[in-house]
């Protein structure tokens, strides 16, 4: 393992209302480049809130997230999208592909947003790595769930980010497609040196990860 890539320090998130609800409570951990970490826990344990804070999609109530030593919470709000685009790849349970674009265009899109000039070539290479070459020109809405997740993983890797954050990546997949998705995420860590953080309550994927962190009631415990 190399240097710490992403680190959460004293991360908390509370929602004020009639009564204060603490979704994430003083969570600290770090993930190294090339490492796959699973944050496991039941529904409502705060996993997704934690992932949103790691991705800079949600501002923590307290604590910090550092990515390659840079505190992402201190970035001006206007700079966060560009930072996310280049430094963080997302994989979602519901895939979140744009249905009216083809598989290739979905990958190209994030490359173009980042200003890549060879977007088409790089998208083709990423889809090839994901085993999706023969599906590249199909509209996303016409792909199977497993194929959609492969495209989503290719899209997450498009801008060569340091970190991949995956929310229930196997949640909408059957066992076989889930295996494929996990192999791709594991490959991203091993061969591309990405730090991969997965939140899931699917215990079948534990065999694919380096470390499992158990989360319950917003708090974290190592296992």
């Amino acid at each position: 393992m190399s240097d710490v890539t992403i680190a959460a320090t004293g991360l908390s998130k509370s929602y004020e209302g009639a009564s204060t609800v603490t979704a994430v409570d003083d969570v600290s951990f770090d993930v190294h480049a090339g490492e796959v970490v699973l944050i496991s826990g039941p529904n409502g344990s705060g996993k997704t809130t934690l992932l949103a804070m790691l991705g800079g999609l949600l501002l923590p109530s307290s604590g910090t997230v550092t990515l390659n030593g840079r505190n992402i919470n201190s970035l001006p709000p206007g700079c966060l999208p560009a930072f996310r685009l280049r430094s963080i790849g997302f994989v979602f349970q519901a895939f979140r592909l744009l249905d009216e674009l083809t598989a290739r265009e979905n990958v190209e899109l994030v490359l173009e947003m980042a200003g890549a000039r060879d977007a088409a070539i790089r998208a083709a290479a990423l889809l090839e790595d994901a085993g999706m070459t023969d599906r590249a020109d199909r509209l996303a809405r016409n792909l199977s769930s497993g194929e959609k997740q492969c495209v989503a993983i290719a899209r997450a890797l498009a801008n060569d980010p340091a970190v991949i954050l995956a929310d229930e990546p196997t949640g909408s997949l059957d066992s076989r497609a889930g295996e494929v998705a996990m192999r791709l995420l594991g490959g991203a860590a091993r061969s591309r040196g990405k730090a991969v953080v997965i939140v899931s309550h699917d215990t079948r994927i534990e065999k694919h990860v380096n470390r499992v962190l158990r989360m319950a009631d917003g708090r974290l415990g190592d296992r």
């Binding site: 999609l57 999208p81 560009a82 979602f92 744009l98 249905d99 009216e100 190209e108």
Partner: protein
């Protein structure tokens, strides 16, 4: 380049079609109104502009042909014609009245009675028939003739006096009224007051100094006002613009607002429906500028499709509309189309404002909702 905006726009074709037809209808209405306005403006000033008249002599404070009340003595024409530099001068009488065809009264006619000997004041464009008028002959505007099914040789009555249509003129339709031309002696008969005209029309000789002639006319009678042709055209134009333009302008502004609301509503519902996609784009790292462009491109593309539809609707419906309203003269111009085109782009940009506000309220963390 991934054509995301186009694909998003075309995703719900039904909604796009309804929007484009709505925009197209409004654009067509605006184009039609502009064409009617141009037709009214040209019809109103065309006679003043094209009749070969260098100076218009009116009663003091009268300054236009359409609404001013002006009375001058016809004998002034002979005095003015003796001024050095004047090639000819003749009276022009304006009578606002109705005609009667069989048992039916027509809409208002502007009858201009001119001197048939000098022919100063006759219309410049005769479509058919002869401009040489005998007693109780008339030159009638083409739109008026079409409206009442009249042609050369048809008869109509003015104040119980029968007139034969000797010719049909063009460019003599002022929308609210059309022009008809008769001999000055017929005009006097209709008016019932001999020796009185509305204007004295002056033609200058070659090389004459207009200002010197104007000064000489004013010395003749300081109760007279003299305008050059350009000044008189401008006066009539101003009269139209203050009278008709605000109404047309208000309808056009209202139409533009409708266009803006239609496109805003279409995009608003589209963004609302695609909320998760926009949240995804935000989560993935799309900049605000990128998303702004995505909305504005859709808005402008939708608006321009509406403009194109409007052109087609206009071309298809104008002949039908003119059948129902034959007295309306429409002048479609490239400049008016370009103005509407530019307006459409501006409306497209403005119409994007509402969905952009909605976009600001979409949070990227929404992407985690299952």
């Amino acid at each position: 380049m991934v054509p995301l905006a186009r694909r998003m726009l075309f995703r719900d074709r039904g909604r796009l079609l309804v929007t484009v037809i709505g925009l197209g209808s409004t654009v067509s209405l605006i184009l039609f109104l502009l064409a009617v306005y141009d037709g009214v403006r040209d019809g109103t000033i065309n006679y003043v502009r094209t009749a070969v008249i260098d100076l218009w002599v009116c009663q003091k404070n009268a300054n236009n042909l359409i609404k001013s009340s002006s009375f001058v003595q016809t004998s002034r024409a002979a005095e003015i014609s003796r001024i050095p530099g004047v090639r000819g001068a003749a009276p022009l009488m304006r009578i606002i009245t109705r005609a009667r065809i069989g048992q039916r009264d027509t809409s208002t006619l502007f009858i201009l009675a001119f001197d048939p000997r000098t022919r100063i004041g006759e219309p410049a464009s005769i479509a058919e028939g002869t401009p040489h008028l005998e007693r109780h002959d008339m030159i009638l505007d083409r739109s008026f003739a079409r409206k009442y099914g009249l042609a050369v040789g048809s008869m109509l009555r003015i104040q119980e006096t029968p007139f034969r249509i000797a010719a049909i003129s063009e460019g003599t339709n002022a929308l609210l009224a059309q022009y008809a031309f008769v001999r000055i002696d017929d005009g006097e008969e209709l008016l019932g007051i001999p020796g009185i005209a509305s204007f004295i029309l002056v033609r200058l000789g070659a090389g004459a100094n207009p200002q010197q002639v104007i000064d000489a006319i004013r010395r003749l009678d300081d109760r007279l006002t003299v305008y050059t042709r350009d000044e008189f055209v401008a006066n009539n134009l101003a009269e139209i613009q203050t009278g008709v333009l605000p109404v047309f302008g208000a309808i056009i502004v209202f139409g533009a607002l409708v266009c803006g609301l239609v496109i805003a509503l279409m995009l608003y519902s589209s963004v609302l429906e695609r909320r998760e996609d926009y949240a995804t784009l935000k989560a993935l790292g799309a900049s605000h500028l990128y998303l702004l462009r995505l909305i504005v491109v859709q808005s402008i593309a939708g608006s321009l499709s509406g403009f194109a539809c409007g052109l087609i609707v206009t071309a298809a419906t104008t002949p039908i509309l003119l059948q129902f309203a034959p007295s309306v003269t429409v002048h479609y111009t490239v400049s008016a189309a370009l103005i509407v085109f530019a307006g459409t782009i501006v409306i497209g940009i403005c119409g994007a404002a509402v969905p952009i506000q909605l976009l600001r309220r979409i949070y990227p963390a929404e992407v985690f909702r299952a």
